[in-house]
Amino acid sequence: MTAWQERTIEQRNLLNPAFCAVAVWHLARGYRTESMAPANEPAGLPLELAFVGASLVLRGHTRDQLPSSVSTSLATWVHDHPLERSAVAKGVIVLREPVREALLFGAQYGMLSLDGRRLDATDEHSKKIKSYLRTSSAEVRECMRRAEFVGRWLCKAGAPPTVLALLGVQA
C-alpha cells in the first residue's frame, strides 16, 4: 500500500481504513446472522469474501442494483446483471489494498478478530458504531445497511469457492 501521505485525497478519505473496517464489520455481522439460521452454528466471514463483499458494497452503481431480499439468489442476480459481474471482479482488484489495510486496522483496535481463515466482528464497538452512523451521511448509512445485507446474502450463496466462481473472481 502506498504510504498514507502519498495517496490522492479521494483515496485517502473515501476509502479510509476506519470506514472500510466498519464496512467489513457489518459484512461479518451479516454473515454471522445468516449462518445462525439453519444450524445455529455461527460462522465467521471467510477472508476472501471480505474483499468480494466490499466490492459489491462500495461501488455505488453496483450497490444500487443489489436485490432487495436475500431470497434472490446470487446466481440469479448475476444472470440478470451480466455487466455487474465484471465490475465486481474489477472492484476486488481495485479494493484489495484498502480492504487489507482495513482488516489490519480493525484487528489492531480489536474490532475484527481472525480465526483461521475467517473473520469475526466483536461486539465491544457496536455502541460506538451506532452513534457514528446516527450522525453520519445518508450514503454512509446506506453502505452499512447494504454491507450487512451482502454478508447475509453471500452466506446464503454457499461455500466461498462457489461464490468466487459465480462472480468470476480468482482466489
Partner: protein, 648 residues
C-alpha cells in the same frame, strides 16, 4: 462440457446413497425391474432444472428428500442438488450448488437453498458453453423467437425406455408437438451450422441497416436544402444589395453566396446615420448607447459565471461533507490503543507501520473540515455579490431605456435622420432574415465522406446478410448433417441394421431417420420391427454425439440409454411359446453387437463422451461389459434402500 460422476439420493432422515459413474466411459447398471432404473432419467432431468418432476409414483418419489448430481465440467467439478416437491406438488425452487476443482458429496445436513431453478439453469448453460442463440422464426410464422437453453441441449442426451423403441419419434420428448418444434429450431445451433456469434451478427446487421437509413436520409436532406436553398439565398442577396449591404455578382456559386450571407450576418451593421451626415447630439447618444450595451453584456456574463460557480461550490461542499462523514468513522476507534503486534500474523510491527494511524485520519478530517467551512462561508458572499451585480444590471437597463427615448426624440426632429433610420430599419430587417436563414441551414455536411461511409456500410451489410441468411445456414446445416450421416451409415452397418446398405440420413425437418433406397426414401416409422427402431435410435444418437464431441458443441457430453435390450429378450427368457433357442441366441448376439458398438464409439472419442446404460442383462462372459458394470441392482439392492422412511 458436462459429464456425470455420481447420482445421489438423500433420505428424509439424513442418510444418502450415491451411484458412482466414470466420466468418458461406458457405465452400466444392470438390474431387475422395479429397482428404480428408469427413475435415473427423471432424476437427471429434474436436477438439470426441469419445470416439473417426472419420476413415477413410488419409493423414489416418496422416500427421497433431495436428488443430487455430481458433475464433471471443463473447469472442475460441480455438485447440484434439488429438493423434491412437497406433497403432491410438481416442482420446487430449492436448489443447492457447490463448485470447486474437486467436490466431495456433501452430507444431508449441508443441503440448503443457495439458488433457484433459474439460477441453476443459467449456471448449467454456462458450464456447457451455451451462448445466446435466438431462433427467429421465418417471416409469416406466429411463434415467438426461441432462445436455446440447457433443456434443449439435454434433449439429445436422454432416451427413456418407451422412447428408445419408438418408431415415430427419434428424440426425447419429441412426441410433444412444441418440443419437436423447439428441437427443429435449435438443431442448427447445436450442430454448429449457426455460429456462436450469430446473435451478435444479427444485432450488428440491424445496427448497420439503421445507420444506412440515417445516412441516406441525411444525403436526401442535403440535396433538398441545395434545391430550394438556392432560391432562398438568391432572394435574400437581392434584398441585401438593395439596402447596400453587399455587391456580390449573380454568377457566384451556391457556396460563395452562403459565405457572403454569413459574412453579412457577422459584420456589425454600418450605422446609416453616419452616411446621412453629421449630427453631434445623435452621435453622442449613439456612443453612450453602445457603451451601455457593452456594460450590459459584461454584467450579464459576470452574473452567469458567478451563478455557475455558486452551483459548483455547492457540489464541492456536498462532496467534502461525504469525505468528512466517512472520515468520522475514526470516532469508533478513539480512546483505544492499537496493539503493537500485527493481529493477523502476531509478528511485532515495525516502528513506522504502514497502516495509517488515528492521527493521520484526524488530520485529514481537520483539513476537510477547514476547507468545507471556508466554502460554506463563501457561498453567502457570492449570493450578495450576485445581488449587487443584478442591481447594477437593472440600473444599466434603465439608462438604456432613457437613452433610447432621447435618441427617438432626436431622430424625430431630423428628417434626414428619419430617412437614415428607415434604411437602418430595412437593413436590420434584411439582416434578421439572413440570420434566421443562415442559422437554419444545417452545416452543409461533406457529402463525399458520407457517401464513402455509405459504400463501406453497404459492403458490411452484404457480408453480414450473407452470414445470417437462411440460405447460408441451410448450406452449413447440410454440410454438418452430411458428416453426421456418414457416421450414421457407418454405425448402422456395424450392427447390421435393416436398410443399412442404403444411404441413411437424419431428416432435420421431420426429426427422423430416412433410408434412401433405390426405389424411394423410407422413413423410420415405415421400417418394421422393434429391434430396428432401437438400433436406429442408438446409431442416430451416437452419430450426433460423435459430431458434438468432435466439434465441442454446447451439449452435455453424455447419453443415457434406458433398457436398450427390451426389444430383444428379457434375461429370464426360456425357449417355448414360439421362441426357439436359435432366436434367443440371435437376440443375444444382436444385443451384444449393440453394446460392442457403444463401447467402440466411446473408446474412439477418448474421454469426450460418456454413456450410461440401465438394463436387465448381465453378460458375465464379456470383459468390457463387466468392467463397465458399476452396480448390480439385484437381491434387494436398489436405487433407494427399502429401509428409508417415507417423507412427511
Amino acid at each position: 462440457m458436462i459429464q456425470i460422476r455420481a447420482i445421489v439420493t438423500y433420505s428424509h432422515d439424513g442418510r444418502h446413497r450415491f451411484v458412482p459413474f466414470e466420466p468418458g466411459r461406458v457405465n452400466i447398471i444392470s438390474g431387475d425391474s422395479r429397482t428404480g432404473k428408469s427413475a435415473i432419467l427423471g432424476i437427471i432431468e429434474y436436477c438439470f432444472g426441469a419445470p416439473e418432476i417426472d419420476v413415477p409414483e413410488g419409493k423414489v418419489r416418496r422416500n427421497v428428500a433431495w436428488f443430487g448430481l455430481l458433475l464433471q465440467t471443463h473447469r472442475g467439478q460441480a455438485f447440484v442438488a434439488r429438493q423434491l416437491p412437497k406433497g403432491d406438488g410438481k416442482s420446487n425452487e430449492v436448489v443447492y450448488i457447490q463448485t470447486d476443482t474437486e467436490v466431495a458429496i456433501p452430507p444431508a445436513s449441508a443441503l440448503r437453498q443457495t439458488t433457484n431453478r433459474e439460477g441453476l439453469r443459467s449456471l448449467l448453460a454456462s458450464w456447457v458453453g451455451l451462448s445466446d442463440y435466438l431462433h427467429e422464426p421465418p417471416a409469416g410464422h406466429t411463434r415467438a423467437p426461441l432462445a436455446a437453453t440447457i433443456s434443449h441441449a439435454l434433449t439429445f442426451c436422454l432416451q427413456s425406455q418407451n422412447e428408445i423403441a419408438q418408431r415415430r419419434h427419434l428424440f426425447h420428448g419429441a412426441s410433444d408437438r412444441f418440443v419437436a418444434q423447439a428441437i427443429k429450431d435449435t438443431l442448427p445451433y447445436f450442430l454448429g451450422a449457426v455460429t456462436d456469434d450469430y446473435v451478435a451478427q444479427q444485432q450488428e446487421l440491424k445496427r448497420v441497416r439503421t445507420e444506412i437509413r440515417q445516412i441516406e436520409r441525411r444525403l436526401a436532406e442535403a440535396a433538398s436544402i441545395r434545391g430550394d436553398g438556392i432560391g432562398r439565398s438568391d432572394t435574400l442577396l437581392a434584398e441585401a444589395k438593395a439596402v447596400g449591404l453587399t455587391t456580390l455578382g449573380d454568377g457566384a456559386t451556391w457556396q460563395e453566396k452562403i459565405d457572403t450571407l454569413r459574412a453579412i450576418q457577422s459584420k456589425p451593421v454600418p450605422s446609416a446615420a453616419e452616411e446621412a451626415g453629421e449630427d453631434a447630439e445623435f452621435k453622442r447618444l449613439s456612443i453612450v448607447r453602445s457603451e451601455l450595451v457593452l456594460e450590459q453584456r459584461a454584467l450579464q456574463s459576470t452574473l452567469e459565471r458567478a451563478r455557475g460557480f455558486e452551483g459548483s461550490s455547492k457540489g464541492y461542499s456536498a462532496e467534502a461533507r461525504e469525505h468528512a462523514a466517512r472520515l468520522n468513522a475514526v470516532t469508533v476507534f478513539e480512546h483505544d490503543t492499537p496493539g503493537h503486534s500485527c493481529p493477523l500474523c502476531l509478528q511485532n510491527l515495525p516502528e513506522v507501520s504502514q497502516v495509517p494511524s488515528i492521527g493521520d485520519l484526524r488530520a485529514a478530517q481537520d483539513y476537510i473540515g477547514e476547507r468545507s467551512g471556508a466554502m460554506d462561508s463563501a457561498t453567502p458572499r457570492i449570493a450578495t455579490a450576485i445581488q449587487e451585480v443584478e442591481s447594477r444590471l437593472a440600473d444599466v437597463r434603465r439608462r438604456l431605456e432613457d437613452n433610447r427615448a432621447l435618441l427617438t426624440a432626436v431622430k424625430r426632429t431630423n428628417e434626414r435622420l428619419q430617412l437614415a433610420t428607415d434604411t437602418e430599419a430595412r437593413r436590420a430587417m434584411v439582416l434578421g432574415r439572413i440570420s434566421l436563414y443562415v442559422e437554419n441551414i444545417p452545416q452543409m455536411p461533406d457529402v463525399s465522406e458520407q457517401q464513402e461511409r455509405l459504400a463501406v456500410l453497404r459492403k458490411q451489410e452484404t457480408t453480414l446478410d450473407e452470414a445470417v441468411s437462411a440460405d447460408t445456414i441451410q448450406a452449413k446445416m447440410e454440410s454438418c448433417l452430411s458428416n453426421v450421416n456418414r457416421h450414421l451409415s457407418d454405425y448402422a452397418q456395424r450392427i447390421d441394421l435393416e436398410y443399412s446398405d442404403a444411404p441413411l440420413r437424419l431428416d432435420p425437418r421431420n426429426l427422423t431417420i430416412v433410408a434412401d433406397t433405390p426405389e424411394r426414401p423410407v422413413p423410420m416409422r415405415e421400417i418394421g420391427s422393434g429391434e430396428n427402431h432401437v438400433g436406429y435410435h442408438i446409431v442416430a444418437h451416437l452419430a450426433l454425439h460423435t459430431w458434438f464431441a468432435n466439434r465441442d458443441r454446447p451439449v452435455p457430453a453424455f447419453l443415457l440409454l434406458d433398457q436398450l435390450s427390451q426389444a430383444h429378450f428379457s434375461p429370464d427368457t426360456v425357449p417355448g411359446e414360439g421362441r426357439t433357442q436359435e432366436k434367443i441366441d440371435a437376440d443375444r448376439k444382436a444385443v451384444k453387437r449393440l453394446f460392442s458398438l457403444i463401447f467402440d464409439v466411446v473408446a474412439s472419442l477418448d474421454g469426450k463422451f460418456q454413456v450410461i446404460i440401465t438394463d436387465h442383462p448381465d453378460f458375465s462372459d464379456d470383459v468390457r461389459f463387466q468392467k463397465a458394470l458399476r452396480e448390480r441392482w439385484r437381491d434387494g439392492l436398489k436405487l433407494v434402500p427399502d429401509d428409508w422412511p417415507p417423507g412427511p
